[in-house]
Symmetry: C2
Subunit: 170 residues, 2 copies
């Protein structure tokens, strides 16, 4: 059966964690999972657990979120190289689930284009399930996806002054 | 610091997976995690992986989703017993993250009340982070939560006739 294309977007907390949860579920069913993180260079807590599991490959393509600063040439190069690598992975069909975490942000900051991302997704081996996350999803991705969930922030504790905490946000 | 109360609701895919992702992140930071599933009795694929990890306890309180049928006395008993157990876990502070997956559905079907659920959450040890998931969150829970994300279904492949698949939905 054809693999589906999922898109998790919106401003609310839960996009990357939903992708991690999907990775864990797929691993539990014996799938091989490729987890690509764009625009993230830090080792988030979840990466330690994913790396300890069998049948999952985690790769990070980027330095860190450049919120409030411009992406550098290095950021752009890392993202483009990442998309090339993930395109090959998608095409090969070696992994039954391929996650492109924060790829929407890479498009938003023009590290690569929505057309380049869509081409990689469309050229995947037929059975591969693909997941894209991140705020500000491009309308072309929304149009092409089989599933779109918008994580809407109704309220968030950062409004109480709570900062990102290890084990919960990172 | 006081632990936060997260609520993930709405009709879109990504609520339980976000909770699993949070569990994995917390485990990666060395937290102990209690993962309680209400209204679910099947062994979903993710449970196999969670059960293979250290520092996590998974408990299921219920038989299965009673969509299109009425909850039985057994369903009600299982949910009430579950809430009692989880209340003790929350109060003890033994686990730094406690997840009540699908507890909103248990409230919606009146297996226990929103007041009973809120009391358990409010009586937790101060540092415990608590996560409640499920559609149709009660307004009292929304009012009390520190973080609310509404997973809005923009589109879903079940509209194409795709049924729940092992490794992706279960």
């Amino acid at each position: 059966m054809r693999g589906m294309f999922h898109l998790y977007t919106g401003n609310g907390k839960g996009k990357t964690t939903a992708a991690i949860g999907l990775a864990v579920r797929a691993l539990g069913a014996g799938f091989k999972v490729f987890f690509a993180q764009f625009v993230k260079g830090q080792e988030y807590s979840e990466i330690k657990i994913l790396n300890s599991l069998k049948n999952v490959t985690v790769k990070q393509y980027g330095l860190d979120c450049f919120i409030r600063k411009e992406p550098t040439e290095d950021d752009i190069r890392a993202a483009k190289q990442g998309l090339n690598e993930v395109s090959q992975v998608l095409k090969s069909g070696e992994y039954q689930l391929v996650i492109l975490d924060e790829a929407n942000i890479a498009v938003y900051y023009q590290l690569f284009s929505s057309e380049q991302l869509l081409q990689a997704i469309e050229n995947r081996a037929a059975a591969v399930e693909v997941v894209v996350t991140g705020r500000k999803a491009d309308q072309k991705l929304i149009d092409q996806a089989d599933l779109v969930t918008r994580m809407e922030e109704i309220k968030h504790y950062y409004q109480q002054g709570i900062m990102a905490r290890t084990g919960i946000e990172k």
